[in-house]
C-alpha cells in the first residue's frame, strides 16, 4: 500500500529553511547548466541559421571556409549557366558570387574586432530568403555604399545610417541596416561584389551561392559541379556548410557545461543527502509507526524518494525561473572558422528547461536514495523505542 504523497509534502513544509537551502543549491546548479547550454545553443543557432537547405555554397575544392577559398570569374559564370540553378522573378539566375573579406572595425566600447565584409550580387537578397532591409534603403549598384547587419549596429563606430566607414582605402557610406533572422549574417557588412572586388583582393570571388531549382536533387548537383573538369570546386549544402563551422565551439561549450554543472551537482547532491538523512533520523518514530501499521518497506522507500524529488523539483523550477531573464541576452565571440566576430543571443528553449528539470530530478533521486533506503530498513523496534 502506498503512503499518501501529502505526507511528504507536509513534511517538506515542516522544515522550510532546510528545504529552501537545499532547493536553492540545486537551483543554482540548474541555472548554470541551462545558462551554458543556452550560450552554446545561441551560438549554434546563429551560425546554423545562416545557411538554407535550398541553397548550394560553392568554394574552392578542399576549402572548408570562405576565407581561404578563391574562385575565378569564369568559374562563377559557368555555374550561373548551369540548369539546376533556380531562376528569379526577373528570369535571372538566383546566384550570388561573393567577395568575402574581413575588416577591422573600432568597437564603441574600445578596442577593435574583425567583421566580415561580404560583397554580394543584386540577386543575393532573393537567394537568401531571410535577409530583409529594416532601415534605410538598398544599396545602389556601382556606388560605394554598404548595408550593416543589425547585430553590429550600435556596437561599432560608423554603423548608423548616413555615416561612413573606411576600409580598403575607401570610404563606404552606410545606407541601410538589415536583419537576417538572427543568423550570423546580422554580424556582417554587405556591399556590392563588383565594388568590393577591386578594393580588396583582385579578380577573385571567395564563394558562389545559388538556389537550387530542385532542393531534393542536391547530391546530383554536387556531383555535377565537382566532377566538371572546368570547375576546381567543392559544393556544399549551405546549411551544412555553416553548421559544421559551429561544431567546435558548440562542443567546447557543451563539454564545459557538463563539466561545471557535473561538479557543482556533487555538492548539491551531497547537500540533499545531508538534508534527507536529517529528515529520516528526525522522523524515525514516525517511520516506525508507518512500518508497524503495515506499510511495506518499499512504500517507505518510495515515499522518501518522492520527498527528495519534491525538494529537487522545487530547485529545478527555481533554476528555470532564474534562467529565463537570460533568454535573448546578446553576447559575442569569434567564429574561428572565419576569424570574424559573430554576435548571438542566449537561447533558453523549452527543451533546455525540460533538461534542467530532468537534471534536478536526477540529483534529487540520487541524493534521496540512500537516506530513503535507510528509512525503509529501519528496525521497527529500535525506532519505536526512540518515540
Amino acid at each position: 500500500m502506498k503512503i499518501p504523497l501529502i505526507y511528504n509534502i507536509r513534511s517538506v513544509r515542516q522544515r522550510p529553511v532546510s528545504t529552501l537551502f537545499t532547493a536553492l543549491g540545486m537551483a543554482l546548479v540548474v541555472l548554470v547548466f541551462i545558462a551554458m547550454m543556452a550560450l552554446s545553443r545561441g551560438f549554434r543557432a546563429a551560425i546554423v541559421e545562416t545557411g538554407s537547405r535550398e541553397n548550394v555554397l560553392v568554394v574552392r575544392s578542399g576549402s572548408d571556409n570562405e576565407l581561404t577559398s578563391g574562385l575565378g570569374r569564369a568559374t562563377a559564370q559557368t555555374i550561373a549557366g548551369m540548369p539546376f540553378v533556380a531562376e528569379g522573378s526577373t528570369g535571372r539566375p538566383l546566384i550570388s558570387p561573393e567577395v568575402y573579406v574581413l575588416v577591422s572595425l573600432d568597437r564603441l566600447d574600445g578596442g577593435d574586432a574583425l567583421v566580415v565584409a561580404r560583397g554580394v550580387s543584386p540577386q543575393a537578397f532573393e537567394v537568401r530568403k531571410n535577409v530583409e532591409i529594416i532601415a534605410g534603403r538598398m544599396i545602389n549598384s556601382g556606388a560605394p555604399e554598404i548595408l550593416i547587419g543589425k547585430s553590429i549596429v550600435g556596437r561599432f563606430a560608423g554603423t548608423e545610417i548616413g555615416e561612413t566607414i573606411r576600409f580598403a582605402s575607401r570610404d563606404w557610406e552606410v545606407v541601410g541596416h538589415f536583419a537576417a533572422g538572427g543568423s550570423a549574417f546580422e554580424s556582417e557588412i554587405w556591399g556590392e561584389n563588383e565594388q568590393f572586388m577591386p578594393a580588396f583582393r583582385g579578380e577573385v570571388f571567395q564563394s558562389v551561392t545559388f538556389r537550387m531549382s530542385d532542393p531534393s536533387a542536391f547530391e546530383a548537383v554536387k556531383l555535377a559541379l565537382e566532377e566538371d573538369p572546368r570547375l576546381p570546386v567543392g559544393a556544399h549544402r549551405e546549411y551544412d556548410f555553416y553548421a559544421s563551422q559551429s561544431e567546435l565551439l558548440t562542443r567546447v561549450i557543451s563539454i564545459a557545461a557538463v563539466f561545471i554543472a557535473g561538479i557543482m551537482a556533487i555538492g548539491a547532491v551531497f547537500g540533499a543527502v545531508n538534508t534527507m538523512y536529517a529528515a529520516v533520523s528526525a522522523r524515525a518514530p514516525e517511520i516506525a509507526v508507518l512500518l508497524t501499521l503495515g506499510f511495506r518497506p518499499l512504500s517507505v522507500l518510495s515515499s522518501f524518494l518522492f520527498e527528495a524529488l519534491v525538494i529537487a523539483l522545487i530547485g529545478g523550477v527555481l533554476g528555470c525561473l532564474f534562467s529565463l531573464p537570460l533568454n535573448g541576452l546578446m553576447t559575442s565571440t569569434t567564429n574561428w572558422s572565419s576569424m570574424s566576430e559573430v554576435a548571438f543571443a542566449f537561447s533558453v528553449t523549452p527543451d533546455l528547461l525540460l533538461r534542467g528539470m530532468i537534471f534536478a530530478a536526477v540529483m534529487g533521486l540520487i541524493g534521496g536514495f540512500f537516506p530513503a533506503r535507510r528509512a525503509a530498513r529501519q528496525p521497527v523496534v529500535k525506532a519505536a523505542r526512540q518515540a
Binding site: 536553492l24 545558462a35 574586432a113 582605402s169 555538492g267
Partner: protein
C-alpha cells in the same frame, strides 16, 4: 587549544555529514580554482607579448599578407634594430581538431629577436641548415609522441589542402615560462617553395628602446597608408591582447559561474551546520550551564564550520593543482599555458575560510543566544 577535543568530537558526531560536506566544499573549490585559472591563463596570454617588440600586419586584417619588399625599408626605420617575419601556416597533423600553432618563419633573423625559446646549439644548427627542418615545442612533441629526427607530414588549412608537407624534426625548444610549448616552426623558404607563392604574414620589429613604440608605429603606418598593402603596427603585447579579446567575454562568464558556485556551496555548508546545530541544542544548553560563555560557544561553532570548509577547500584547491598539472590540461588547445597559480590557490583558500565563517554564523549565533532554562526544560 584545550577545546580542540570538544570541536573534534562535535565534528565526528555525525561522520557522514561532516565527510559529505567536506567533499562538497572540495568539489566546489576545485571548480572555483579551475574557473579562475581559465581567467588568469587568458590574462597572462594578454601580457605574454613583449613591449620592446612590435608587430606590423596588414591593416585590413592579420589574415592578409604583406609584400616581401617591405623588409628592406623597415630595417631603415629609426629606432628599429632588427626585423624578421613569419607566416601563419595552420598546419594539421592527422586530425584537424587537434589544433596547434604553426609558423613559417625567417629562420635566420628569428632567433636573434625571440629569446623565449631555449634550444641546444647543435639542434639549432641542424634546424638552420636543412630547408625542410622543423623546430617543435616540448609540449607538442609529447602530445603527438614525436621523436627528434622523425619525418612527419602535415597538411595546411591555408595552402592547397590536398598537398602533404613533409618535415623533419631537427630541434626541440624549451620555452621560458609563459611562452607556449606547443608551437611548430619551420623555414619560410620552404613555405615559399612549396606553395609557389606566399608573402610574409607579418613582420616583427625589435626596438632599440620600448619608449619609441608610438613613434615607430606612426612612421610605418603613415609611410604605407596609401599603399595597396596598408599596415598596422602595434606592440606585441597589444597584438596579443587583441587576439585574446577574440574569445569574447570569457572572464565575465567564468566569474558569473564562480559566484553561482560560491553561493551553491554556501547553501550546502550552511544547511549542514544548521542541521548539526539543531541536533545539539540540548548539549549547548548543558555546556552553558557548566559555565561556557556565549562568546566561547559562538567561537566553537564557527571554528567547527571553518574546519570543514578549510579541509574541503584544501582538498579541492590542491586536487585541482595536482590534477591539472599532472594531466597537462590545455583546454583542448584553447588555453595554452594553463596552470593553477599560487595566487589562485590563495584566493581559493581565502574563499574556503569565508565560507566557513558565513556558514557557521547562524548556528553560532543561535547557540550563543540559546535560553538555557527553556531548553533544558524541553529536554527534561
Amino acid at each position: 587549544m584545550k577545546y580542540a577535543r570538544l570541536v573534534w568530537v562535535n565534528l565526528m558526531r555525525n561522520k557522514r555529514r561532516t565527510i559529505l560536506t567536506t567533499i562538497s566544499v572540495a568539489a566546489a573549490l576545485f571548480l572555483f580554482v579551475a574557473l579562475r585559472s581559465v581567467n588568469t591563463t587568458l590574462d597572462e596570454a594578454r601580457d605574454v607579448g613583449s613591449e620592446s617588440r612590435m608587430v606590423v600586419r596588414n591593416a585590413i586584417s592579420v589574415v592578409f599578407s604583406l609584400p616581401e619588399a617591405y623588409y628592406n625599408w623597415l630595417t631603415t626605420v629609426p629606432g628599429v634594430s632588427r626585423v624578421t617575419w613569419g607566416n601563419w601556416f595552420h598546419g594539421i597533423y592527422q586530425d584537424p581538431r587537434d589544433f596547434f600553432p604553426s609558423f613559417g618563419v625567417d629562420v635566420d633573423g628569428y632567433f636573434d629577436i625571440y629569446f623565449e625559446m631555449v634550444v641546444p646549439e647543435d639542434q639549432k644548427q641542424a634546424f638552420l641548415r636543412e630547408r625542410t627542418a622543423a623546430m617543435v615545442g616540448t609540449g607538442l612533441m609529447e602530445r603527438f609522441g614525436w621523436r627528434l629526427g622523425q619525418t612527419i607530414n602535415l597538411t595546411s588549412m591555408i595552402y592547397s589542402p590536398d598537398q602533404s608537407w613533409p618535415f623533419t624534426i631537427r630541434a626541440v625548444y624549451t620555452p621560458i615560462p609563459g611562452w607556449t610549448d606547443e608551437a611548430f616552426y619551420f623555414h619560410y623558404d620552404y613555405l615559399y617553395e612549396m606553395s609557389e607563392w606566399t608573402q610574409p604574414g607579418w613582420y616583427v620589429l625589435e626596438l632599440e628602446d620600448p619608449s619609441l613604440a608610438a613613434t615607430v608605429a606612426t612612421t610605418i603606418d603613415e609611410h604605407y597608408e596609401n599603399s595597396r598593402f596598408a599596415t598596422r603596427t602595434e606592440t606585441e603585447r597589444a597584438f596579443q591582447s587583441g587576439m585574446v579579446s577574440m574569445y569574447g567575454n570569457v572572464g565575465l562568464l567564468m566569474n558569473a559561474v564562480g559566484i553561482a558556485v560560491f553561493f551553491a556551496i554556501l547553501l550546502v555548508a550552511a544547511n549542514a551546520m544548521m542541521m548539526s546545530g539543531r541536533e545539539r541544542t540540548s548539549e549547548v544548553a548543558v555546556l552553558k550551564t557548566l559555565g561556557y560563555s556565549d562568546r566561547l560557544l559562538f567561537g566553537l561553532v564557527v571554528i567547527e564550520a571553518a574546519i570543514i570548509t578549510v579541509v574541503g577547500g584544501a582538498l579541492g584547491v590542491f586536487g585541482a593543482k595536482v590534477l591539472f598539472e599532472g594531466t597537462g590540461f590545455q583546454g583542448m588547445g584553447f588555453l595554452p599555458g594553463f596552470e593553477v597559480k599560487l595566487s589562485t590557490a590563495a584566493v581559493g583558500m581565502a574563499i574556503a575560510i569565508l565560507l566557513g565563517l558565513i556558514s557557521g554564523l547562524v548556528p553560532a549565533w543561535q547557540a550563543a543566544r540559546l535560553p538555557v532554562a527553556h531548553t533544558l526544560r524541553r529536554v527534561a
